[in-house]
């Protein structure tokens, strides 16, 4: 059987309708994601305006080098993801798998580097909470900066982890010949999600890491 028959769900008239509905659903989902992070960005903006110096000081303690590397890694993973979608459209199974695996590896590298950064912060006592240690001025407000740092990057990382899980699923499905030039909706829609997660990071990086440097 070709994917054309197996992929069509019972309640759709044809694959086009199914594809359009799924795409719209994904865009709607991304809109709610924007609002989800939007709440955090709104809070961040308020406090940054209240405590510019504390945010400045807090930002200086972030590792710009690792942050920059991670930004590069994530942009590369967006590229490999775009390639995966491209080869999905062409129906080249091997290339789909290759690029999905590459995307997965880059995502894992990102998360690994993030974990290293986190552990540095733990050891430096910068985890917000009653054990927070800050030698310097504006300790309480720096703690708020680090609250935003951990919650924002943590939520971002959570999205990456979920994305990595879905990637594994896609790789397995691709291995089972589920996608071809007629039907590759999951790969394409996951691409949208992955790019979105990437874009969130593109906003987080300057807001958190580059704040202290002009």
């Amino acid at each position: 059987m070709s994917t054309k028959e197996t992929a069509l769900q019972h309640h759709f008239e044809n694959l086009d309708q199914q594809f359009e509905a799924s795409t719209l659903g994904m865009w709607a989902f991304l809109v709610q994601e924007i609002l989800f992070f939007g709440g955090l960005f709104a809070g961040y903006i308020v406090y940054r305006n209240w405590y510019p110096e504390a945010f400045h000081l807090g930002s200086e303690h972030l590792d710009v080098f690792l942050g920059t590397v991670n930004t590069a890694v994530l942009i590369c993973s967006s590229l490999t993801m775009a390639m995966a979608v491209h080869w999905a459209q062409k129906g080249d199974k091997n290339k789909i798998i290759t690029f999905l695996v590459l995307t997965f590896i880059l995502g894992a590298v990102f998360l690994g580097i993030k974990a290293v950064e986190y552990s540095h912060k733990f050891h430096a006592g910068l985890l917000p909470g009653d054990g927070f240690i800050w030698h310097g001025e504006h300790g309480d407000q720096v703690r708020i900066f680090y609250s935003f740092y951990f919650v924002m990057t943590g939520m971002h990382a959570l999205h990456m982890i979920i994305g990595a899980g879905i990637l594994i699923h896609l790789i397995v499905q691709a291995g089972k010949d589920r996608y071809d030039a007629n039907y590759f909706t999951p790969v394409e829609l996951f691409g949208l999600y992955w790019h979105f997660v990437d874009i969130i990071w593109i906003f987080l990086f300057p807001l958190l890491y580059l704040l202290g440097r002009h």
């Binding site: 309640h11 989902f29 989800f36 955090l40 406090y47 951990f150």
Partner: protein
């Protein structure tokens, strides 16, 4: 995936006129319900769970009204009372009102009304029910393990630092219920955009669909903000991260902004679907085209958009800048206009109609009456000078109950009666239904109208004990509540009764217009229509 074809059992529903398998008879084991992806069955799952939460929340209301009969706090401790009103609010808002009409009737009817076989994402639809139940269980656990006492608004820093109750459990319950709501909205948007039957143009859609479309927009744009806010409160409680803690420079008012950014539009999540129901019922029982279809359709969208710009009117007394309050006030007045338009249009629809007084119509007329009062008192509250006095008093309590109970629940009852024959294939006893609608209407007024008065007199809300001079109004209110409670029990009994003894309903017992009546059986078959309907009529073509 699981679009398994369930074999009908010939011994069940074996009437001769039941040749086709209805969605109810397509499988009888528990698995065929709990793993169903049929939007109609999921609607039934929601109906059952919401009925449970409605009566659970109602039970707390009964205890609140009992306590308030006397001025002294003599029935229960202050701490217990605080938990009662909190859990009443949490259960009613997050586990009944927000899902209510969309999750039950929206799920059941959106595909039927636009001529689709199912919602766009049936599995996500099932997932949203499981998320809802998971949230509901967390909320229920919060109650079982000793309750929560922050008020349903979870204001910081009380909720984040000071309260000694199960704030996190209850908040996470609301969080998961919220995601369920987002997924429902997402499903409706994709379905309404992409799955309309041939000929079902945007302006041939029933107003029920327009209302759900507007509601879905709010669900998608508002809910995630409260979700992240809830996470921040939980983190603040668990780890003391400082975002809402004034001792560390955090801002408790920021919480109010984020909370009301969702929770004000959430009021429209409750009321807009109800308005959609009323439009359907009014047209059917007056055999009239709706008066001013476009005005009503666009007023729903207008409410959805403007509803996002008014949250600050909950905070006139919070010390926010006077100019901020001014802007929020003027926008709040603007959002009153589309609601007024709807009320006028419904009234005009009756003009020169052929009006019958079946139970759904009685509820719809009751809705207009109660919503008018609720809406007009909303104008009082939008007014800066007056709001300062009545904010956080029983005036507010009365106002939002007129909207949420008088509006949303009257709409829910209207929908339940109107589509009950379609959902179950049975008619309910009409006389009892009419009696119940009157009992509810009068019980409601007696419960909540005195609260306007005692509120203007200055009785603050969330008071366990109160000065004696307020007692007379509280006694009236409690008396009304007992009538109202009875009013809600009557339908519970006759609906259950009708499942076994009710007369069988024809496909279109009300002679209504719309695909769900004209092209689908009662109850509908598993895939709704034998073949995809083609729409060649205008909407409400009576």
């Amino acid at each position: 995936m699981s679009t398994a074809v369930f074999k009908p059992r010939p011994d069940q529903m074996g009437d001769n006129n039941e040749k086709k398998t209805s969605y109810l008879t397509a499988g009888f084991n528990i698995r065929s319900w709990l793993l169903t992806v049929d939007h109609k069955r999921i609607a039934i799952l929601y109906l059952l769970s919401l009925t449970f939460f409605f009566f659970l929340g109602g039970m707390f209301a009964v205890l609140i009204r009992l306590e308030l009969i006397t001025p002294a706090g003599d029935l229960m401790q202050a701490e217990t009372y605080n938990k009662m009103f909190t859990m009443h609010g949490v259960v009613m808002v997050f586990f009944f009102l927000i899902p209510s009409i969309p999750a039950v009737f929206g799920n059941f009817l959106v595909p039927l009304m636009i001529g689709a076989k199912d919602l766009a994402f049936p599995r996500i639809n099932l997932l949203s029910w499981y998320l809802f139940m998971f949230g509901g269980m967390l909320g229920f656990a919060a109650i079982i393990f000793g309750g929560v006492d922050t008020g349903w608004t979870f204001y910081t820093p009380y909720s984040s630092t000071y309260a000694n109750s199960n704030v996190i459990l209850a908040a996470l319950g609301a969080f998961f219920a919220g995601f369920s709501s987002i997924l429902t909205g997402l499903n409706f948007i994709a379905t309404i955009h992409k799955m309309r039957a041939p000929g079902m143009t945007w302006f041939r859609m029933p107003l029920f669909i327009w209302a759900h479309y507007a509601t879905s927009i709010i669900q998608i744009l508002g809910t995630p903000v409260v979700a992240i806010t809830i996470i921040l409160v939980a983190l603040e409680r668990l780890f003391h991260i400082g975002i809402f803690d004034p001792k560390l420079g955090g801002d408790p008012i920021l919480f109010q902004h984020l909370f009301w950014f969702y929770s004000h539009p959430a009021v429209y999540i409750m009321i807009l679907p109800s308005m959609g129901v009323i439009s359907e019922v009014i047209t059917c029982f007056s055999k009239k085209k709706i008066f001013g279809y476009e005005f009503i359709a666009f007023s729903s969208l207008g409410i959805a958009v403007l509803g996002f710009l008014v949250w600050g009117h909950h905070m006139y007394t919070s010390g926010q800048s006077i100019y901020v309050s001014l802007v929020f006030s003027v926008l709040t007045f603007l959002v009153a206009i589309p609601s007024a338009i709807k009320v006028f249009n419904w009234t005009a629809t009756l003009y020169k109609g052929s009006v019958s007084y079946d139970a759904p119509m009685l509820y719809a007329i009751g809705f207009i009456g109660l919503f008018t009062i609720g809406g007009l008192t909303g104008v009082f509250l939008a007014t800066l000078g007056v709001n300062v006095h009545v904010h956080d008093t029983y005036f507010i309590v009365a106002h939002f109950h007129y909207i949420m109970v008088g509006g949303a629940i009257m709409g829910y009852m209207a929908a339940l009666h109107f589509w009950w024959p379609k959902i179950t294939g049975r008619l309910y006893p009409e006389v009892w239904a009419r009696v119940a609608s009157f009992v509810i209407f009068f019980g409601f007024h007696l419960t909540f109208f005195p609260q306007f008065i005692v509120g203007y007199l200055g009785m603050p809300r969330r008071y366990h004990a109160y000065p004696e001079e307020f007692q007379i109004w509280n006694i009236l209110s409690s008396a009304g509540a007992s009538i109202l409670g009875l009013g809600y029990l009557i339908p519970l009994i006759y609906f259950i009764w009708s499942l076994k003894y009710g007369e069988r309903a024809s496909a279109n017992p009300w002679n209504a217009k719309g695909l769900e009546w004209e092209k689908a059986d009662s109850p509908p078959t598993q895939f709704n229509f034998d073949k995809t309907p083609i729409v060649d009529q205008e909407v409400y073509d009576y």
